[in-house]
């Protein structure tokens, strides 16, 4: 190993931070990018199928949009508690973080429940025709995100009730909140696609 000459002392640097300073934030962004690409391709596939089929949707009745609309409203509303969780995490305010994480878990569970109901209201089965298939896969892809984020939030909430709830964990809470914005944001185009394009 080559001989050294000490040129700078980094002892004073902190061991964690928030937002773009942490590697985890960038990792989360990376996964958002690739999952977002997955959504974009699913949207592309949907529009492609619209394009090759003279008639769309290939079903008599478009899906009942109400469950989806309610889900969308709740999703949008969830931005506020999510923002709270994020802010309180930055402040490292443990009791508040616990509270807001529980709220987010409850919301997540509610959303998952609505999502299951949504599947029953599509008025088409996945194996009926290509329209059904693409509708189900898009909804399913997003449902997978709701589910994993719920799991994530639940584990994090549990963690915040243990002795590990300090320091870097607050940064994890912040990243989790960041990911939730992605889950919310990616739903909006899908909502239009699944519920409103068939009514065009």
């Amino acid at each position: 190993m080559k001989a050294h000459r000490l040129a700078e002392d980094l002892s004073a640097l902190p061991t964690y931070g928030f937002g773009t300073s942490m590697t985890m934030w960038w990792g989360t962004l990376g996964f958002c990018a690739l999952e977002g690409m997955g959504f974009a391709l699913a949207i592309g596939a949907y529009l492609y199928l619209v394009h090759v089929n003279a008639q769309w949707p290939l079903a008599d009745v478009p899906p009942n949009h109400w469950p989806g609309t309610i889900l969308t409203i709740i999703l949008l509303a969830s931005i506020w508690p999510n923002l709270q969780a994020e802010r309180r995490a930055r402040e490292e305010n443990l009791p508040a973080v616990r509270r807001w994480l529980i709220v987010m878990c409850a919301l997540g569970a509610l959303l998952v429940a609505i999502r299951f109901y949504e599947f029953t209201q599509l008025n088409v089965r996945w194996d009926q025709n290509a329209y059904g298939s693409i509708t189900w896969i898009i909804l399913g892809l997003h449902a997978a995100h709701l589910l994993t984020d719920l799991g994530d939030t639940a584990v994090l909430a549990a963690l915040m009730f243990t002795r590990h709830a300090k320091g870097k964990r607050f940064s994890d809470v912040e990243d989790n909140a960041f990911y939730w914005y992605f889950v919310v944001g990616s739903w909006l185009p899908l909502y239009l696609l699944v519920y409103w394009v068939p009514r065009w």
Partner: protein, 640 residues
Amino acid sequence: MSDALARRDERDLRDTMVDGSELHARLAKTWGTGRGLIAALSTVDHKIVARRYLVTAFVFLFLGGLSAAAMRIQLARPENQFIGPDLYNQLFTMHGTTMMFLFAVPVMEAVGIYLVPLMLGTRNIAFPRLNAFSYWVFLFGGLFLWVAFILNIGPDVGWFAYTPLSGPQYSPGKRTDVWAQMITFTEIAALATAVEFIVTILKQRAPGMTLDRIPLFVWAILVTSFVIVFAMPAVMVASTMLILDRLIGTHFFNPSEGGDSLLWQHLFWFFGHPEVYIIFLPAAGMVSSIVVAFARRPALGYLPLVLSLIAVGFLSFGLWVHHMFTTGLPQLGAAFFTANSMLIAIPNGIQIFCWIATLWGGKPVFRTPLLFVLGFFFIFVLGGLSGIMLASVPIDTQVHDTYFVVAHFHYVLIGGAVFPLLGAVYYWFPKITGRMMSERLGRWNFWLAFIGFNLAFFPMHLLGLQGMPRRVYTYQPEMGWGTLNLLATIGSVILLISFVLFLWNVVSSNRRGEIAGDNPWDAGTLEWATSSPPPPQNFDRIPLVTSREPLWAERGPLPVVGGLAVDMRQVVVGTVTEARPILRESSPEPSIWPLFAAIAVGGTFLGSIFTPWAVVWGSIPVAITLIGWFWPSGSPEDEK
């Protein structure tokens, strides 16, 4: 000083407080992988994971190569009875799939996983557990495929598995399911690695390594990783749709229910074209490293080289339709993709010109790594130019799906990726093992590979023009293709011998090669600043970078930064553009959970071939292992 305080200080020992061999030993203990099987399976050391990746990928190269040898024997003469159609179809599918998904992409990642942290002057890759996980996923995916092949359920629909041939109606049985699930599964590994690279390169560069001081190889890996992030999801979406069509009766690709078989082709090639640059760009990075080291001068045109990499990365998303010129797309649209495909000659040309200019302005040292790079020029440029021919819609209507295309892509794949890779192995072997490879065997290896390759693949251009389609298991004598095919087979045998020589060189040099020392080639980048092989911590102190080739600029002692913990794993995290240090972030310690998670995910994928419920039940072990993975163990790394 109270006792408690003293203990705390003990735990927070910094590298400014100790020095020399004590620092080295303590860091090695902190970062080391313990003894025993569990420790070996839990390791998160990027060098160990990379070595496993490398060895596994080369095993797949040899398996893929042996299936190619079998095909070549079958094609050596007309109406040969060596292999029947069923086995032949499995063989070329296994060959293509193995080479693309299990060899070429992973091997490039393996080299990156080994070198990127070293070149950046950091101690581990970002998300090292994810890295360990990605290796296991890759290994299991490859094993799936080859075990299936041995059980005679190897896929047989080609490496791009066009629907409807690969759909439920025309490929009953499990063969295509194995293919589709294996693809989805192993792409997880590639995607995970890509995210690790992006974060490592953006955030973990040694202090002072501004964007314009990043080694060219690392730039290549960065661009490749972005291409992976945006391309691989396409094949995952596509193969998921395919498996759903096959297993639960969806109709994505079924025209009689509103689906469309060209949708598959669009999705596949939206991935498939970038895929070839995912293979080529890291190889271009290797070429840059070798050219600079052996021309003994800095790269001429660092900025154009970087911009070319980025341009190729961008353009690669606008070419996919050139694989579909004969599917009856609108003529105007097709012409647009002709223009785009030809455009990519410009950045690729700039790279070639810059390398030649660098050689011109330097003093080339003719060692084996450089020989392979010269072979690369000869072969890759020819293959690139035949790519330009294919990019023309009219010409492609003649040569598409013939051996002309087979010739093109072996020229670019083997010339553009395998030759640089072999050069890279000769170049970095001393770093990895501490020993030099035999130069004499290296020269034999090179010349046999070069001659064998051209003999094997040049005739294929002619065969394609004479009308020989690809993927035929035999041909009739009156077609007149016998002689050229025999020549191609002889060439591949020579090529095979060259690989055996290579294997022998690696194995014997690893045991008895000359001891290398830290920097046997007197190269300039940081990986050569540490010992060969590097210690677990990579560097005792993190280098402070002041130039693009720090070891050329700093002939005296290397400037370094201090203040990192010694008894816990800590890396310097900096700003994205300037690499100004901002954090001493802790880096995860070893864990067995990534392996368990890979087993759980693999089991789920395997099970889903047999019943969709496997996804439901499989999610339970997957969740458990992931929680185990992320749950803090109470180690200092977790708590800070």
